[in-house]
C-alpha cells in the first residue's frame, strides 16, 4: 500500500486478498498433487479400520517440512 492509501486509511486491495487466498489454497492443493495415491490409501486404510471398529471416516493429511514428507493419520474412535 502506498503512503497515500495509508494516510486515508484505505483497506487492503482486492488483488492482495486474491493473492493471499490463492497462496493458501494452492499450498494445500499442491501437497495432494504430490501424492496422487492419497485417496486410494485413505480408502484402503478405512477398509481395515472398519473391520475392527465402527469408525466411518479417517482423516489423512500430508505435509512437508524441509526435507521430510509426512502423512498424518487421525482416527477418532468416538466419545466415551
Amino acid at each position: 500500500m502506498s503512503f497515500f492509501d495509508k494516510l486515508f486509511g484505505k483497506k487492503s486491495t482486492s488483488a492482495s486478498v486474491a493473492k493471499d487466498r490463492l497462496t493458501i489454497m494452492l499450498s494445500h492443493e499442491r501437497v495432494n498433487c504430490k501424492l496422487p495415491y492419497l485417496n486410494d490409501l485413505k480408502n484402503d486404510i478405512l477398509k481395515v479400520i472398519k473391520k475392527y471398529t465402527s469408525v466411518s471416516d479417517v482423516k489423512i493429511t500430508s505435509s512437508n517440512n524441509q526435507n521430510l514428507d509426512v502423512i498424518e493419520l487421525e482416527i477418532t474412535l468416538g466419545k466415551k
Partner: protein
Amino acid sequence: MGIIITVTSGKGGVGKSTTTANLAVGLANLGQKVVAIDFDIGLRNLDMILGLENRIVYDVVDVMEGRCNLSQALINDKKAKSLYFLPASQTKDKDVLDREKVKKLLLGLKKSFDIVLIDSPAGIESGFEHSIFLADRALIISTPDVSSVRDADRVIGIIDAKSEKAKEGKDVEKHVIINRIKPSMVDAGNMLSTEDVLSILALPLIGVILDEEDIIGSTNMGIPIIYKEKSMAAEGYRRICKRILGEEVEFLDIHAKKGFFKKISGIFK
C-alpha cells in the same frame, strides 16, 4: 528435427487459441517453418481465429485414421507462407484420439517442421494428455484471476506426470504467459499483478499480453492481431516469439500512463 510446443491453461476461455494463432503467425514471420495443430476435438476454433475455416477439407483425425495424406489435410496460410495449419475434427467423440496414432503424427511433423505448435483443449482429461505427452516445451496461459491461476497451477503440476520427456529424466521447459492484463486495474490494486501471478505459479515468464479491445476485432475478421504494427498486445506476442527462439528481449513496460496525482503519490510509495 523440430520441437513440439504445447499451449495450455487448464481453464477454458483464457486465450489459448488466440495465443496459438498469434504465436504461429509470429514464428512463421521470423522465418520458422511452423505447423499449428488444433487438438480441441469436437470444439474446433483455431481455424476461425486464423481465418482459414473455409479451406478445411480434412482434419487431424482423418490424418490419424488414414482417410487422407498429411499433405492433403495441411492448410497453408494465406499470408504467412511458412505457416501450416491442421484443424481439429468436429466429431462428437472427444476420446477419438489414440495415443500411438498421436505419437506417429507428431513425430512425423517434427521431422518436417521447425516448430509444431499444439493448441491444447481446456481441462485435464485425455485430450489435454494427448497434447502434452510429447511436448518439448509448454506455454501455460493464465489470466490474472483466481480461477485461472488456480487451474494453471494444477496443470503445471500434472505436465511432468504426463510427459514422456519427463519420464526419460529430461525437463519439459515451462513458461507462463499472462494474458488480458489491465495495467490500470493492477495499479489500483483490483487485479493481480504480473509479479503476483509469477510468485504464485513459481515459473519463469515468457510474456505479458495486454487486454486490448482490438483483439476481439481481429478475431472477428480472422486476422490475428500480431499483424497490427501499433498494438501493444501484438508487440507482446512478437516479443514472445523472439524469446521462444532464444533471443533476449526486454519485457514491455505495461504500466498505465500515470496522471499528475498518481505521479505525486508515487513519490511517497
